[in-house]
């Protein structure tokens, strides 16, 4: 059974067991499911598995198929690309469950979170919902990456949306209810677009295979968006919404800060990375992705400078990091594709670590805003250190993970002569250092002392963060292990004197820039405020337009009604003046009236007779 069981099955069965158990038994199930799944995957990988068919030779194994309406559904298709994400999601689930293990055990000792006012800031009352939906969510992500056809992908695509929405709702606040519904609507729309695109593609090509469709996008040779490109375009938009393309990125910055400390860790691991996987599978080498990705690396860093909520800063950081991956997929060379998926791998771990450290702060203090925090290094030195390791990893310091993954995309950009893109990415790399490398640890743990005195978070949280930190360093120091898992053949060595020195120059002089900005007072203060983004369209302007349209319709309707009623009233009054009891035509009714009409008609008749 093991070795050919679709990875999602284990997680879905696990979710049932988790729902039925409590205490230690549930904890052991939470931890053993991802480990058992990993064994299952290793046994799959024991078979000779190769690169996806887009580039290079293809050794793909299909383990489980199903027949539906004449189409063959592939529930478990494994090649090097899907296996890489498979390993990643098992690791992410394992770390996430360690991190969420304390849920249901009561509020951590020494926590001052309960004094903040929000009743269940850590989502302790929704422990069961969080454990079960996180298990289903991880299973759906695995189902999606091992799906061999678009229909199977669609099913897991929607399951991802539904299961993760519960992680947003688990916060149990008015804000999280509203956010959860916005989140769900956006992701269901994405799923509907995916299904429409897949159905149109199946109609045109007769195949529902989840494979490379970038070529379909341009239809004819000259690249015009002919009607032939519509299904591929729908698929691209569906993937793009989940990947946080510009203008569709706000669900990330909306949902991640609204969830519980533990929920956000799961949210940050799966949805966007499934989208990156789907883009890599279907749209590798699509030129448009280079510029979409570059835009994604660029604009969020400005919002991240201004944003007060540190978990929302990490949300913008997420868009920025996915931008690097999307650009890499767009470049499409073997090195760039490898860089994109390797960076996704590294990102899940270091971004998870950063979200975990902010979650630990939130669990213990109830706060995540820069204006409320500071000076926590005194009481949470371990958390602070682990956060700094995550910060160093995302900033791509040598010996940390992003140094060996992001650089592949940068080098590929140069090799393929995308110089302007490279300059933008270099700027965005400095931006990453600013908001994730410096701002997050600095405002939470250093800066001005907020006066909050608390404790380190529960041991399970520290364990999960420590494992994440160890992985960040291991990937950075021994990149060979990760490189050997990458889907495409390449020859790349991240460590040479020039790369190390130039990267350190970029980062340290960027940090020097930060110090000068602080000392001159140019660096903007943290403010208790929001900064409007594209979401203003559907959170403010849209509702405003609908409400004011409603008001306008109401007012017009009201005016017309009044006018018509007035008119009717005056007609009735006029009629009653003539026909009423004392009216001209009613006074001597019926005989006088009769005489009047008879003489009138005689007069008309006479006139006709005379003139015609």
């Amino acid at each position: 059974m093991l070795g050919s069981a679709p990875p999602f099955v284990l997680f879905f069965l696990g979710a049932i067991v988790v729902a039925l158990t409590k205490g230690t038994l549930r904890k052991s199930v939470l931890l053993s499911v991802p480990l058992l799944g990993l064994v299952n995957l290793f046994m799959t990988a024991g078979a000779d598995v190769g690169a996806p068919s887009a580039i290079g030779e293809s050794v793909t194994h299909v383990y489980l198929t199903l027949e539906l309406l004449g189409y063959e559904l592939q529930l478990y298709r494994a090649d090097k690309l899907s296996l890489l994400f498979g390993y990643l999601f098992h690791i992410a689930a394992f770390l996430g469950f360690i991190y969420a293990l304390h849920l249901g055990d009561g509020i951590p000792d020494g926590s001052v979170a309960s004094e903040v006012g929000e009743e269940d800031v850590v989502g302790n009352n929704s422990a069961g919902i969080q454990h079960v939906s996180a298990m289903l969510y991880a299973g759906s992500a695995l189902g999606a990456v091992f799906a061999g056809d678009f229909i199977t992908l669609f099913v897991f695509w929607e399951l991802l949306a539904i299961t993760s929405a519960f992680l947003v709702w688990a916060r149990n606040s008015d804000q999280s209810y509203a956010t959860g519904f916005r989140y769900l609507i956006i992701h269901v729309v994405s799923g509907v677009l995916l299904l429409s695109g897949a159905m149109m593609l199946a109609h045109q090509t007769g195949s529902i295979e989840f494979g490379h469709v970038a070529g379909e996008l341009h239809g004819d040779e000259n690249g015009g968006l002919a009607s032939a490109g519509l299904p591929a375009l729908l698929l691209l938009i569906a993937f793009g919404i989940k990947a946080g393309f510009p203008l569709a990125h706000n669900w990330i910055t909306d949902a991640y800060p609204a969830s519980t400390p533990t929920g956000t860790v799961f949210l940050s691991a799966f949805t966007t990375k499934v989208a990156v996987y789907a883009l890599a599978r279907s749209f590798g080498g699509l030129d448009e992705l280079i510029w979409i990705g570059t835009a994604m690396t660029f604009f969020p860093i400005f919002f991240a400078v201004l944003e007060n909520d540190l978990r929302r800063v990490l949300g913008y950081s997420m868009v920025n990091q996915i931008g690097f991956m999307v650009a890499g997929i767009g470049i499409g060379s073997a090195l760039a594709m490898n860089g994109a998926v390797a960076h996704a791998f590294a990102d899940v771990i270091f971004k998870g670590l950063l979200f975990m450290s902010m979650g630990a702060v939130m669990t213990m203090t109830g706060r995540t805003k820069g204006t409320d925090l500071g000076g926590l290094y005194k009481t949470m030195p371990l958390t602070a250190t682990l956060c700094i390791i995550g910060a160093a990893a995302i900033s791509a310091f040598p010996l940390f993970s992003a140094f060996v993954t992001k650089s592949m995309i940068m080098v590929a950009a140069i090799e393929e002569h995308h110089y302007i893109v490279w300059l933008f990415m270099l700027f965005a790399s400095a931006g990453v250092l600013e908001h994730a490398g410096i701002k997050i640890p600095f405002f939470a743990f250093f800066a001005h002392d907020s006066g909050i005195r608390t404790k380190e978070p529960p041991k399970n949280m520290l364990t999960a963060m420590s494992l994440g930190a160890v992985l960040c360093v291991l990937i950075g120091v021994f990149p060979g292990a990760l490189y050997s898992l990458l889907p495409f053949e390449m020859d790349y060595h991240p460590y040479d004197t020039r790369h190390v020195l130039t990267q350190l120059q970029l980062l340290c002089f960027g940090a020097l820039g930060f110090i000068t900005l602080m000392k001159t007072g140019v660096y903007p203060d943290e403010k208790r405020a929001v900064h409007i983004d594209a979401e203003v369209l559907y959170r403010k302007i849209g509702p405003l337009v609908v409400t004011s349209m409603g008001e306008l319709v109401g007012r017009v309707d009201n005016t017309v009604r009044t006018k018509v009623m007035d008119l009717l009233g005056s007609v009735l009054a006029g009629l009653s003046r003539i026909h009423g009891q004392v009216g001209l035509l009613a006074r001597s009714w019926p005989s006088g009236n009769m005489v009047f009409w008879v003489s009138l008609s005689l007069a008309v008749y006479l006139l006709f007779y005379l003139f015609f």
Binding site: G110, V112, F302, L306, K369, T371, D372, G374, K378, I388, A391, F397, I414, Y419, L426, F427, A430, E434, I438, F442, F445, F446, A447, H448, D449, R453, T454, D496, T497, R498, H499, L501, T502, Q503, L504, Q505, L506, L507, C508, F509, G510, A511, G513, F514, I515, T516, M518, K519, G521, V522, P524, D525, K527, R528, A529, V530, H531, I532, R539, K540
Partner: protein
């Protein structure tokens, strides 16, 4: 601020409250920067393993200058963006424009004119960067 008395006693002063220590960290960081700047002369002599036409066209000291300028560019562009985009915290719940006087928790994260580590513990302190850099 909510404080737990027994914890407060335990850690009233951190290492960042000691100006001398903070100053030493700053000095170390400046020394690292200086060394990295000078390392450019070493790079001039080495062979570039990944031939990089753009670097060659831009000349030397590209990375330190680019890193420094990027931070200033980022912040100088973000500031006018803020005046344009800032709204009150409850903007999406029916609130409107940002009113600085109704921002009780607004704490200055830097104070112009303060010397490094002097008088303002932790202000402008690059503790995180220095740790990162090592």
């Amino acid at each position: 601020m909510s404080e737990h008395g027994h914890h407060e006693v335990k850690s009233p002063v951190g290492w960042m409250d000691r100006p001398a220590k903070v100053k030493r960290l700053f000095m170390l960081f400046y020394a690292i920067c200086a060394a990295l700047f000078l390392s450019e002369f070493v790079l001039m002599g080495t062979e570039n393993l990944h031939p990089h036409p753009l670097e060659e066209r831009m000349g030397f000291f590209v990375y330190p200058v680019y890193g420094f300028i990027s931070f200033w560019f980022l912040v100088l562009l973000a500031r006018p963006m803020r005046t344009l985009l800032i709204r009150s915290e409850d903007y999406y719940e029916g609130g409107g424009a940002y009113d600085p006087s109704s921002d009780p928790g607004h704490v200055s994260t830097h104070s112009p004119g303060s010397e490094e580590g002097m008088g303002h513990p932790g202000i402008g302190d690059p503790g995180s960067e220095v740790t990162d850099a090592r």
